[in-house]
Every structure is written in C-alpha cells, then in structure tokens.
C-alpha cells in the first residue's frame, strides 16, 4: 500500500513539474482588400502620398456578413480549445482604456506614467492573425463565394496556415448560407495546417525574431573586439556564438547586420526552461533576457535593455537600460 502511494506521489510530482507552453492568441482580422473594396477605409495624406488604411471599426459595425463569418469561426475555434480574441471588443477596450488612462489620478495628484512608446503599443494585437477575405460573386443567376483565410504569424510574418477556394455556384441558396457553408468547408483544412505548425513548434522549438541594437550612447558597438577564453573576436560574433549554443539544435539565421544592429530570424527557442525545479514556458523576452545576463558578465560587462514585442519578438539594446 505504501509503495503504491509513493508511486502515485512521484507521478503527481512529475506531472506537476511539467509546465504548459505559452498559448498564442488568435484574432480574425478582415483583409485590407476586403475593407477597401467595401469602402471601410480611411484615407490620409502623408506628405503628398495618399495612404489608404482599413477602418476595422466601421467594417465590424456595418457589415453583417463579416460578423456572421467571424462569429462562426469563433465558435469553431473555441470548440478546438482556441477561443478567438474578438477584434471589435478589443477596439472598444482600447478606447475605454485610453479614456481611463487619461483620467486616472492618484490621491496626491500624480498621473499614470506613460511614454510615447506605451501609447504606440496600445493597439489591437494577436500572436496569430487570421487574415480573412471573401467575395460573393455572381455567374448569371447563380451566386458563389471566393474565400481566402491566411493564418499569419505576427512576428515572423510567415503564413503558418491557410485555406482558400471557390464554392459551388448556387441559385437557390442565400448568400449568408453560402458564407456559412464556406466557413464550415474550409475551417478543418485551416486547423489541420495550424496543427502541423504547432507540431513543428513542439518538435523544433518556437520560431521567433530577435533584434540586437546599440544605443548611440553605448561604449562599444558590435564590431569592437573582446577576449573570451583565450579567443579574440568581434562582439557580434560572440553574440552569434551564444545564439548557436542556446537555440534548439542551433537553428537561427542572422539575416542582416552592421556594427549597430543584428537581425536574427528563424530563431528556434525552446518551449520550456527550468526554474526552481519546475518546467516553465519560454517566450522571446525570457530568451533574450538570458542573453542580457550573459553580456552583463566578464569580459563584456555591458548593461542592456530588453524590449518586448509580444510573444515572438524581442529586442536587446546594448549600452544602457
């Protein structure tokens, strides 16, 4: 009996020590083409150049078809364990948050600290964007749907899942029914590809983007030389070595760089790390923070700032916090 209890306790402890990976947030966003073609757009004059931007608020407030599709997709994704972030609600929250932030005051009369970058960060965001596009077309008396759904990773800009096609023409079915049919038809294909993306992520690590930058006040740039373990080389090369040692199977790509910046793409970071004997979920900020700690030691002794851009992108800025 004692033996069984001990085994059960050990199993429970092991199960408890395993963490869960960071779950990406997903949001359906109508495509630029869809918004602009239906006149849900805003036009700006940017120093003589006309810029057309989608007006999501107007689109969601007026287009019933769009609401129907998003609602249908949300139901399907929630059923698969991925409740979607609702764009309309997110936009409302942001407005409310902005109003509250501007009005909030402490008893002593202090306002909330907010830098220009904090203000810029107040936008509707998700880790994976489901870029939705559809069009109801007519062929004589018959109508049909052209449907495109792209799952875009917000950080790597990669299309991680997609489903697209043209529905069968029908003269009897209402357009709303055809739209509903299109969602039901393509969502399994889309989720199948999303599943492949997640399986790849668990096998080879999460694919993220890391930027290394230098403040203009920094004492060193990426081409200055250092001695480490009897080896003399450029600072940037030592950072590259650290990336090779700390990414999953050394997978990363230094796609661009100068003496002032390095751009690392296709960086595969582990899904978990261990802290206090427990497995915890790793994100890019945590990964880059490890690089910051490495650079704070001998021989570099540098102070660096870690700037986070969501789950899959972080910047390390060398020189000061």
């Amino acid at each position: 009996m004692k033996k069984i209890l001990t085994i059960l306790l050990v199993v429970a402890a092991i199960a408890n020590s395993y963490g869960q990976a960071k779950k990406p947030t997903i949001m359906v966003v109508p495509s630029d083409r869809l918004c602009i073609s239906k006149n849900f757009s805003m036009t700006f004059d940017n120093q003589g150049t006309e810029i057309v931007l989608p007006d999501y608020k107007k689109a969601l407030q007026t287009d019933g078809d769009l609401r129907l599709i998003i609602s249908k997709m949300s139901g399907i994704m929630a059923d698969r364990g991925f409740p979607l972030k609702d764009l309309e609600q997110e936009l409302k929250n942001l407005e409310q948050q902005a109003a509250e932030t501007s009005m909030m005051m402490s008893k002593g009369g202090s306002e909330l600290a907010e830098s220009p970058i904090d203000m810029l960060k107040r936008t509707a965001k998700a880790d994976i964007i489901m870029d939705l596009d559809f069009e109801i077309k007519q062929q004589g008396p018959r109508k049909y749907i052209v449907f495109t759904l792209n799952g875009l990773d917000a950080y790597t800009s990669k299309n991680v899942a997609s489903a697209a096609g043209t529905g069968a023409p029908s003269s009897a079915a209402a357009p709303e029914l055809l739209l509903e049919e299109a969602v039901l038809s393509y969502m399994d294909e889309f989720n199948g590809r999303l599943m492949t993306h997640f399986e790849d992520m668990f096998a080879k690590g999460r694919e993220v983007k890391v930027m290394v930058k230098v403040w203009d006040s920094a004492e060193y740039d990426l081409e200055d030389e250092f001695d480490l373990n009897g080896e003399t080389d450029e600072f940037g090369i030592f950072i590259e070595d650290w990336m090779a040692d700390n990414t999953v199977e050394g997978r990363f790509n230094l796609s661009d760089g100068t003496s002032n910046f390095q751009k690392y793409e296709q960086v595969r970071i582990p899904m978990f790390y261990e802290r206090n004997g427990k497995q915890r979920a790793m994100d890019t900020r945590r990964f880059v923070n490890n690089l910051r700690k490495y650079l704070a030691k001998e021989p570099f002794m540098m102070e660096c700032k870690v700037y986070m851009r969501g789950l899959g992108e972080a910047h390390l800025i060398i020189g000061e916090k």
Binding site: A21, A168, L184, S185, Y186, M271
Partner: protein, 177 residues
Amino acid sequence: MKKIKNITSLLVVVVLFAVNCSAQSKNKVRKLEYNSTYNYEVATVAVGVDGTKLIKVWGYGKKVEDAIRKAKQDAVACAISRGFPAGAGGRAAATPAIVTDSDVFTKNEAYFTTFFEPGGKYLQYVNLSTDAPPSGADRVKVNKKTYKVGVTISIAFNELRKEMEKEGIARSLDSGF
C-alpha cells in the same frame, strides 16, 4: 496418333493450371485489396451541417447488407486515418485526417478491434445513411460472390475527433498549451 493425344492432354492440363493460378492470384489480390486498411473509395458529396461531413463511400461484401456495413466502417476509418478529398466543382474543401499517423490502427489495435466490431461504437458517428438497399449504379455485382455498394453517409466528424482526442489517439489542437 497416341503421342499427339498425349501432348494435347498435357497442353490442356498446363493451360487449365495456368488459368487457375491466374484466377487464384487475381482472387488473392482482390482479397488483399478488400482487407487493406489503406483502400477507401470515398468522395465528398457536399459540405455537411455543423460538425458533420457528407460523403459517399463504396463498400464490398458477399451480401448487399454486408457491403453497407463495410461502407459505414470504411467511412469512419477513412475520417480517422486518411481524411476526405475535396468535393468536385468546389462543393466542399478537403478534410484532413483526424490522426496524422498512418499506422494509427496497428498502434491502437485493441481499441479499434472493439470500436469497429459489428454493432460497435463506430456506429455512433454514422449519422444518416441510405440504409435501404441501394439500387441502380449504386449497387454493382462484381462477381458471383461480391457486391459493391455505394451509400451516402453523414459522419459526425467533430464528435469522432473529440472521441479520438479523449482516448489519446489524436492530439488536440490546444494540447501542450
């Protein structure tokens, strides 16, 4: 004259033996194809209502009823291991398999033996079918012993997927998160 007779008899025996061998070999191939876990004759008919797939599947059997039963089993097995192809003329998009591992049936043999036995749990996921014996082009007598029958079936795809996820056979989309 006797010699010619003997040669003719020998030739007849050889030809008969060859024909028999060929027929046996053909039967063997046919039997292997019937019993193969990779051989599904399935077409998507249209987009099913929420959570279902509307497909047409062909089954083989000694009697029409046996062929219908085999068709139902094949439809469920195909949903699990192979998925359904896209419907012709944009009627429906392709449906991926619930389990991506093609050896799913051998790896979980004990579970699937019970699942697919006559009157087994698989029937829970066959929503609607043309149970009345099909006629015309949907009922073909392949040979003296075999019928090939086509039935239109609605598979409760989402429920089937959930069952596979619950049993740990399929990985759910949010597993690991």
